[in-house]
């Protein structure tokens, strides 16, 4: 039999026919499409039992209750906790993104020590024992030399047990240099102290007010406890409450307000005082809550005559009169202050003017009014017994100059840290401990801050993430993230109640991290007497339980502890502190004709938490595009500079220069530029690093002469075609 071409062809045809009649081609076709439906590289999330675990979010000071959905042992979704006094089921964009932080690639996965040059990002994993040993040896060494004061710590907060443990650690060690990162709280505390004569903070009964006069406060941009404010804003809509937003730029808060009153940047206090002057002159005031009115009155009327204020602020005289009438005539008027999220302290004058307005309207300690209330004081530990070394250290002046001299009333001045370390301080720093803070990104004039950090010989970062400050550190001792740990969360962001939330571990620690409280306790113990003595607890959990005492059970059960009836720290406001000159923006008007303002948005984070990928995804393409950041410009201003939408431009300020893109926005005053705060990270992951410009590189601190706080609200700038 000879296999010729035809036979072969016949064989092939037979084969084809047989194949067509067999399942092979059809099943392969089906299976290959099914394969494409479940490509092995597309993850399949495993199923399992669903449970919800309640906790408290600590990503911002808002203190919302959260409910975390878990499938088996994986946390899959964070939701707002129903019935929680602050957020009642609502939740913000940052809170929703928490799992991306928990499971994200930027976690510091174990203690590490630096092996390359600083900032090179070369690390060596070490054990916790080794990390503690490195830290304690260093600290003991310095302390033994009598230089305990050259160790400083900077933290995001000073309330709650963990910050208290840091403070206690510093005290027992002998350093006066505990600092809190700057925020509106600084000015608020100072104002309460100055105006009401006692330590405390203010609470605002926003829910019950019926006329809101906001001097630049980002009511729906993250001011106060954000979700509470969102809810209040909706409540106002339902109740048809009048909301007036005084701001140079049409922020989201301004857009939500009943009325937007554009004002010249930096003149909010002038307007407040102008309104006060109208109220005083027309006798539309309540004198019961103020003292010192008679002496103050003449100055006020002289300096803040409507016409003059109108000129300063750019607000028409009749508008000022209308506002005064509306505010004074309302049943429960309430004025708010602190620009944007109140990320910077601001000047005492700014805040005092608004508090005075509240007092003149008679809303102090009233329903819908302003309440000066004491800080939570549930942490009652026995005093630290300081030894000679510690006492010597503690008697040294603070490196930032707070609490002494002309800034005697001021508690912390972290904004002056860079300056102090860069040669203007009383002594050089040897060690800096950084917890829940990211000064290398968040403090103004970032270049100077980084320079200062480069000068500090030893930096320890407790950050859970590879942030900018961790990149400058020598030793990383990563804390658990909030979803992995216990912590008390005293909430004070403008609440009229005293509230403590409890953060609880929702999942077991994902990496080789350790609770900061635990780290401090074990470090103190490792350092022996007298440090060990000040930290008698076996572990942090014991410490927490003992500290919270009778509140512990409530917290374990409800997740939150609330005290509603609080005795205010004062009921009469001493009219003072607003006679200072307004703080001007840095820079020469002639060389820098424009004004650059930072603006806050809830879609970008504040504080030490970097934006999660989900958040960045929501950011408009008029804020970042690719890696370029945008500056908002009024079309008129842009036209004058020959710039159009999306054009590349050079933005220059006395502090720095950046390449930005132009976003034309009608809602901003001509001559004013605005740029979002919270971008321009150099650390973290590829989802965040390099995107946009960090406005802190363009802006520097401006000292409020009456407090030393950073009162910068903007900086002079130029914008030219790149």
């Amino acid at each position: 039999m000879k296999v010729d071409r035809r036979s072969f062809l016949s064989f092939v045809i037979g084969g084809a026919a047989g194949t067509a009649l067999s399942p092979l081609p059809w099943k392969l076709m089906d299976d290959s499409s099914i394969w494409s439906q479940m490509w092995p590289w597309t993850p399949v999330p495993p199923d399992g039992e669903v449970v919800y675990e309640d906790s408290t979010c600590t990503l911002c000071p808002g203190g919302c209750g959260i409910s975390v959905r878990k499938v088996d042992n994986r946390a899959v979704k964070i939701e707002g906790k129903q019935g929680h006094p602050i957020n009642d089921g609502g939740i913000c964009i940052l809170g929703l993104s928490g799992l991306q932080m928990l499971y994200g690639p930027t976690r510091v996965k174990s203690p590490m020590k630096r092996i390359g040059e600083r900032g090179d990002g070369q690390w060596q994993k070490i054990s916790w024992d080794e990390a503690i040993a490195i830290l304690t040896e260093k600290l003991i060494d310095i302390r033994d030399k009598g230089e305990a004061h050259t160790v400083a710590a900077i933290a995001g907060s000073d309330s709650g047990t963990v910050p208290a443990l840091i403070q206690r650690f510093m005290t027992a060690y002998g350093s006066p240099n505990f600092m809190r990162t700057p925020s509106g709280r600084d000015a608020d505390e100072l104002a309460v102290n100055t105006l009401f004569g006692n330590q405390g903070r203010t609470g605002f009964d926003v829910e019950n007010a019926d006329y809101i006069l906001s001097f630049g406060s980002g009511i729906v941009d993250g001011w106060g406890s954000p979700v509470r404010m969102f809810r209040a804003s909706s409540l106002w809509k339902d109740k048809k409450t009048t909301v007036v937003q005084v701001e140079p730029r049409l922020s989201n808060s301004a857009a939500k307000a009943t009325r937007w009153v554009p004002v010249n940047p930096g003149t909010e206090a002038d307007l407040a005082l102008g309104i006060a002057a109208v109220m005083v002159s027309r006798n539309m005031i309540d004198t019961g809550a103020v003292s010192g009115l008679s002496s103050w009155k003449s100055d006020l009327l002289a300096n803040y005559a409507t016409e003059k204020v109108s000129q300063t602020t750019g607000v028409a005289a009749e508008v000022i009169a209308e506002l005064a009438k509306g505010f004074a005539g309302a049943n429960r008027p309430l004025a708010l202050c602190g620009r944007g999220k109140a990320q910077t302290a601001g000047s005492l004058r700014d805040i005092a003017a608004v508090y005075a307005l509240n007092a003149l309207a008679g809303n102090i300690n009233q329903e819908g009014g302003m309440w000066p209330i004491p800080e939570a004081d549930y942490i009652q530990w026995r005093d630290v017994a300081t030894d000679n070394l510690a006492s010597a250290g503690l008697s040294q002046p603070r490196i930032d100059g707070a609490g002494a001299g002309k800034y005697a009333q001021t508690r912390y001045l972290a904004s002056r840290l860079a300056d102090a370390v860069n040669g203007n301080g009383p002594y050089p720093l040897q060690v800096l401990l950084v917890a829940s803070a990211n000064p290398c990104h968040d403090l103004p004039d970032t270049q100077r801050v980084k320079e200062a950090f480069a000068r500090i010989p030893f930096i320890v970062s407790f950050s859970s993430f590879h942030d900018e400050t961790a990149a400058m550190a020598d030793l990383l001792m990563p804390d658990h993230v909030y979803l992995e740990r216990y912590e008390d969360v005293p909430v004070d962001a403008g609440l009229t109640q005293q509230m403590i939330g409890l953060s609880r571990p929702v999942v077991s620690p994902q990496f080789n991290t350790r609770h900061l409280g635990e780290t401090l306790i074990s470090a103190a113990k490792a350092m022996g007497e007298p440090m060990a003595d000040a930290f008698p607890w076996d572990d942090y959990e014991t410490c927490l339980e003992e500290t919270l005492a009778e509140k512990w059970d409530t917290l374990m059960e409800d997740g939150v502890w609330v005290q509603a009836d609080i005795d205010p720290v004062g009921d009469r406001l001493q009219l003072a502190g607003m006679d200072a000159d307004a703080v001007q923006a840095e820079g020469d008007v002639n060389s820098f004709p424009l004004l650059l303002l930072p603006y806050d948005t809830i879609r970008l984070t504040s504080g030490y938490i970097g934006e999660a990928p989900f958040m960045i995804k929501t950011v408009a393409d008029t804020v970042i595009k690719g890696n370029d950041g945008f500056v908002e410009v009024n079309p008129q201003t842009a036209r004058a500079a020959g710039l159009g939408q999306g054009d590349m431009a050079t933005l220059t300020t006395p502090r720095g220069e950046a390449q930005v893109r132009v976003h034309l926005f009608e809602g901003i005053q001509p001559g004013v530029l605005a740029m979002a705060r919270g971008l321009g990270h150099t650390a973290y992951d590829a989802f965040l690093a390099g995107k946009g410009v960090n406005i802190n590189t363009l802006i520097g601190p401006v000292e409020d002469p009456s407090s030393g706080h950073d009162a910068a609200w903007g900086i002079r700038a130029t914008l030219s075609k790149a």
Binding site: M29, S32, S33, W35, S36, Q37
Partner: protein
């Protein structure tokens, strides 16, 4: 060296020239294939398409080649059904061009879909309410028809024809060609139409949406009509280019003239209806949906009124007038100008009906979406052109595509084979009577 394969009685360029040509086009083809593979293996992120511009450059190419490929079905219709017998001298080429156009269209669709392995769902899980289903069905069926029409042509290759089976097969297929052609015309009518329907049914897109007859929007009929009208122009244009490239006359003037005249009248009638449609849309349909012509043609950097003018006047009225006027039509320069304008016009129409539809903002707060194709898209779009040129080169070289070639280009010198072929190949191509 391949003389045994070359049809008798004709002269072809030397092998090296042929191979050089193949090589150049092959390189372009390879570039396109590389881009195609990138799209398949890495996904459509290789393109610059986006969620607004879900259909882009190559879908336009797809629609355009289908439109101009309409020459095949319409010539077939004229030849086999209407009985315009002169057209037998160009029908082969029309079929070949159609075959190229439709195979390209299918290839483009296979690249265009995000999940090529599941492409067959369109048949298996067909949604009969979708115009695209109709397109897919008719397109693939009509491609089968074109294949059937092309096969006998291949079988007429000198060597293949020697195989009795092939010879008989080719013969039988010629015999039954009228049935195939009729089926093809039917299919073609529907899929050209349903391509128009694709845009016309989009009631969420006032720019594309048209009222119509029963389930068919007016664009359904306009697309069929325009394909029938412009397709022959494209066939003639390609024929003219082929003649220029080969430096031979391949089709007699009377054939060209007839088809050009038909094309001209078709374009003429089409463009009148098109203008009526455009007016109704501009003055009634779109304003009824709150949009005006200015919304569609202003406010962006590309789509201006020029495109409307270019499509309807330059690409419609002008070629129609040239082609229906005998003196103009008979002047090659005018005629070819008309072909070019016509092909441009119909291509522009397909562009507008696919891409401008995507670009026009609908929500008042939305923006125009413009895009620039990536090189992968450009390469993939050029791929069919290279493929088409190669197929034409090979087919022209080895198959008796042009029945009148021998007659029009008698070989003066020697070669008894050539003489023999003259008697042979002409009757060879005579199809069965309808």
């Amino acid at each position: 060296m391949d003389s045994a394969l070359i049809p008798k009685g004709v002269k072809r360029c030397p092998m090296w020239q042929f191979l050089l040509g193949l090589g150049i086009m092959g390189a372009v083809l390879a570039w396109g294939v590389y881009a195609m593979l990138l799209c398949w293996f890495k996904g459509l992120n290789q393109t610059n398409m986006n969620d607004y511009y879900g259909f882009a450059l190559w879908i336009w190419a797809d629609l355009a080649v289908i439109a101009v490929g309409g020459g095949a079905f319409f010539s077939g219709l004229l030849k086999y059904i209407i009985g315009k017998d002169e057209l037998k001298h160009i029908i082969n080429y029309a079929v070949l061009i159609g075959f190229i156009c439709y195979s390209s269209a299918l290839l483009i669709l296979a690249i265009d879909i995000g999940q090529p392995l599941r492409g067959w769902f369109i048949f298996w899980h067909a949604n009969v309410h979708s115009m695209l289903t109709e397109v897919a069905f008719c397109l693939s069926c009509y491609f089968a028809v074109l294949t059937i029409e092309y096969i006998p042509l291949i079988l007429e290759n000198r060597q293949l024809d020697k195989v009795p089976f092939f010879h008989n097969l080719s013969h039988n297929m010629h015999e039954t060609m009228a049935i195939f052609a009729a089926t093809g015309a039917f299919l073609s009518f529907f899929h050209q139409g349903s391509l128009g329907g694709v845009a016309g049914v989009l009631f969420g897109r006032p720019f594309a949406f048209r009222e119509g007859l029963l389930i068919w929007p007016w664009t359904f009929f306009l697309f069929t009509w325009s394909a029938a009208a412009y397709g022959p122009s494209f066939t003639l244009l390609i024929t003219w280019i082929t003649e220029k490239v080969t430096r031979k006359k391949l089709v007699k003037d009377n054939v060209v003239d007839l088809l050009a005249k038909i094309s001209g009248w078709m374009i003429f009638t089409y463009i009148i209806v098109k203008m009526a449609d455009t007016s109704r849309w501009a003055f009634i349909t779109a304003p009824g949906l709150g949009q005006t012509l200015a919304d569609f043609y202003t406010g962006n950097d590309f789509y201006g009124y020029w495109i409307l003018f270019a499509e309807i006047i330059l690409g419609g009225v002008v070629p129609a007038v040239i082609l229906i006027s005998p003196p103009l039509r008979r002047k090659p320069a005018w005629r070819v100008t008309a072909f070019i304008l016509g092909v441009m016009g119909v291509s522009l129409n397909r562009w507008v009906m696919v891409l401008q539809v995507m670009a026009v903002p609908i929500m008042p707060f939305d923006n125009w979406a413009l895009y620039i194709p990536s090189w992968q898209e450009v390469a993939t779009t050029i791929l069919p052109v290279a493929y088409g040129v190669i197929l034409i080169m090979i087919s022209y070289r080895y198959l008796p595509i042009f029945p009148q070639e021998v007659e029009l280009n008698p070989i003066q010198d020697e070669s008894p084979a050539a003489v023999e072929a003259e008697t042979e190949s002409t009757p060879d191509l005579q199809p069965a009577k309808a």
